[in-house]
């Protein structure tokens, strides 16, 4: 496997930074400084270059330094001795753009997969405790990091979903009128059913395949982080297998149905979606909303025999969240055996919140990575296993080296 590391990061008008240059080395780098000085801002930029999304905000607006219209993230990656330069322009009022090796600008989406990262942050607790949207996003983002062209699958599905929801919303009033939904509208719905079935089946198949790859790593990572008395499992609960109740809520299919679904293939999943949409037409018209599809699916996490969400203790929740991120790291590493593109690990403020035992365990696992970026407010929070290069992040956005 060839070495991949970030050798230089340069930010312009990103968050707190007017302009900052950050040279980096392979191995462990710890960013240390008081609260609110811009440590997270730095690693957020690295992660954004990798996933085109932030772990803190869902819109790009907050990434632009107050009062500016455009932010630049520039990076030099060293990839098996070769330099790759990446430049990402985040724009307030038009589409983001990217440049690879100073070539002509391309769509931002085209840099996905070049700089791979796995980010651990306190926000990850929501992966376990939060609503299903958090877990769907986790899976979809990993999917895009692993297979960049699946970004298109995801955005196609989102577009179809928006169109179909708009149609259902306007048909809802017809549904409740005396005339009822016209034949023309039913025929139009049939068309969107067909297109959503195709897009949904592709997304579902990709998610199921990815989850099957994740499962063994997830169980292993949880074992590594704990005493091993409980097992962490993930089951994909699809609305395709479920029963729609009259109030439009879905009883999801049985927990082990995902293995069978994963074996079906896209054409069969498409056929099943078409059928499921037909079966739920009346309820969808009543609600004016798409009730069946990957956008309503759940990735259920089980700790032993209890669901993690709503049952796990605080410590267990942390372990499960870390295990999800570690499992992503393992899947990407496995893939990197062929691709030669091992992920950079980013640990944003996680050690302060962990007990000594979990700290040590996590530190010894991640210290083996090619490159690790860690942020902490005080040096004392960093476990001995991760003492690497220390960089002080000081007021005024100045980054100085302080071995």
């Amino acid at each position: 496997m060839s070495r991949v590391y970030l050798a230089h990061l340069s930010l312009t008008d990103f968050r707190t930074y007017t302009q900052v240059e950050l040279p980096l080395e392979p191995g462990v780098t710890v960013l240390i400084g008081p609260n609110g000085q811009g440590k997270t801002n730095l690693v957020e930029a690295v992660a954004f270059l990798s996933t085109l999304s932030s772990h803190r905000v869902s819109a790009d607006g907050p990434l632009l330094r107050f009062g500016t219209e455009r932010a630049l993230i520039r990076a030099r990656l060293v990839h098996g001795g070769q330099n790759t330069s990446l430049e990402l322009e985040i724009n307030a009022s038009r589409a983001n753009r990217a440049r690879i090796n100073r070539a002509n600008p391309v769509r931002a989406r085209d840099i996905l997969g070049i700089c791979r990262t796995v980010l651990f942050a306190p926000e990850d607790l929501a992966l376990v405790k939060g609503d299903p949207g958090n877990r769907r996003r986790f899976l979809d983002e990993l999917l895009v990091t692993l297979i960049p062209r699946s970004a298109a699958i995801r955005s196609d599905y989102e577009r179809v979903l928006k169109q179909r929801n708009a149609l259902l919303k306007s048909a809802k009033s017809q549904h409740y009128s005396r005339a009822g939904v016209s034949e023309g509208q039913q025929a139009t719905l049939d068309v969107w059913d067909q297109h959503m079935a195709v897009a949904g089946a592709q997304l579902l198949a990709a998610r199921l395949e990815l989850l099957e790859r994740l499962k063994p790593h997830l169980a292993m990572a949880y074992r590594q982080l704990t005493d091993g008395s409980k097992e962490l499992k993930a089951n994909y609960r699809s609305t395709l297998e479920g029963q729609l109740s009259d109030d439009g809520e879905t009883d999801l299919g049985s927990p082990d149905a995902d293995v069978q679904l994963a074996g079906l293939g896209v054409p069969e999943l498409t056929r099943r979606y078409v059928q499921a949409f037909a079966d739920s037409r009346r309820r969808e018209l009543e609600r004016g909303l798409s009730l069946v599809g990957p956008h309503r699916d759940e990735v259920e996490l089980m700790l032993g025999s209890a669901p993690a969400r709503g049952y796990a203790s605080h410590g267990e929740t942390w372990s499960a969240a870390l295990a999800l991120r570690l499992a992503s790291y393992y899947v990407l590493l496995e893939d990197a055996q062929m691709e030669g593109n091992a992920p950079i690990l980013i640990l944003d403020d996680v050690f302060a919140e962990l007990d000594t035992d979990r700290r040590t365990k996590l530190a010894s696992i991640v210290s083996g990575a090619e490159q690790v970026l860690v942020t902490a407010a005080v040096a004392a929070d960093i476990p001995r296993e991760l003492r690497g290069v220390q960089i002080r992040v000081l007021p005024g956005g100045i980054v100085s080296d302080g071995e």
């Binding site: 169109q163 708009a166 023309g184 139009t188 067909q194």
Partner: protein
């Protein structure tokens, strides 16, 4: 905000497609500073186009007479109709010189978010044209994006019952794109490689 007339002009320009507030302002000031004769010519062109240019009563393409030049041209193949979203797509297909039949302009694509359903498109007019038994094939050349594909699916399903050959342009057109931006070679090939739209 500017005073009266200037702001009114900016607002009007801002309503045009693809013109944001900043461009509208720039255009307005360009007009203010321009030679009055130039602006008179522009105004005349605008008024004339609205007075003189109509939509062809057969195919919906822009035309200065009741029917457009293509519909009036006896050399065009009366057995094939190419269905497009907009008049500008007719121009794009004409540039390829691959197509000798006639057109039908829908006036858009099915787009629920924008409130456009089949009733808002010239689909009823298409069905009326199909009563003419000379027509043997319909080529669907809607844009290769989601809304264009959905419109194609809708048409294919509807025409299935009529028993006419329905084909869809072959892929090779950039997905997610606009027909009018496809280059002639690609679009020409897409015509030659069209496939049956009724599965």
């Amino acid at each position: 905000m500017y005073e009266g007339a200037v702001q009114e002009l900016i607002d009007e320009l801002g309503r045009l497609p693809g013109i944001g507030p900043k461009s509208a302002q720039r255009l307005a000031f360009h007009i203010l500073e321009a030679d009055p004769e130039d602006i008179k010519r522009l105004v005349t062109a605008l008024v004339t186009v609205k007075e003189r240019v109509k939509f062809c009563s057969i195919c919906g393409n822009v035309s200065e007479q009741d029917t457009c030049i293509i519909c009036r041209d006896p050399r065009r193949d009366p057995t094939v109709i190419c269905v497009v979203e907009e008049s500008k797509d007719v121009q794009a297909v004409e540039r390829t010189r691959s197509f000798k039949g006639r057109y039908h302009v829908l006036g858009g694509a099915i787009n629920p978010i924008a409130g456009v359903g089949p009733e808002q498109l010239r689909i009823r007019e298409l069905l009326t044209r199909l009563n003419d038994s000379a027509i043997e094939e319909i080529i669907i050349a809607t844009d290769p994006n989601l809304e264009g594909e959905a419109t194609a699916t809708y048409l294919a399903r509807m025409l299935k019952t009529i028993g006419i050959t329905v084909t869809r342009l072959a892929s090779g057109l950039p997905v997610g794109g606009d027909l009018e931006y496809a280059d002639e070679v690609t679009l020409g090939r897409a015509f030659e490689g069209r496939r049956n739209a009724i599965a």
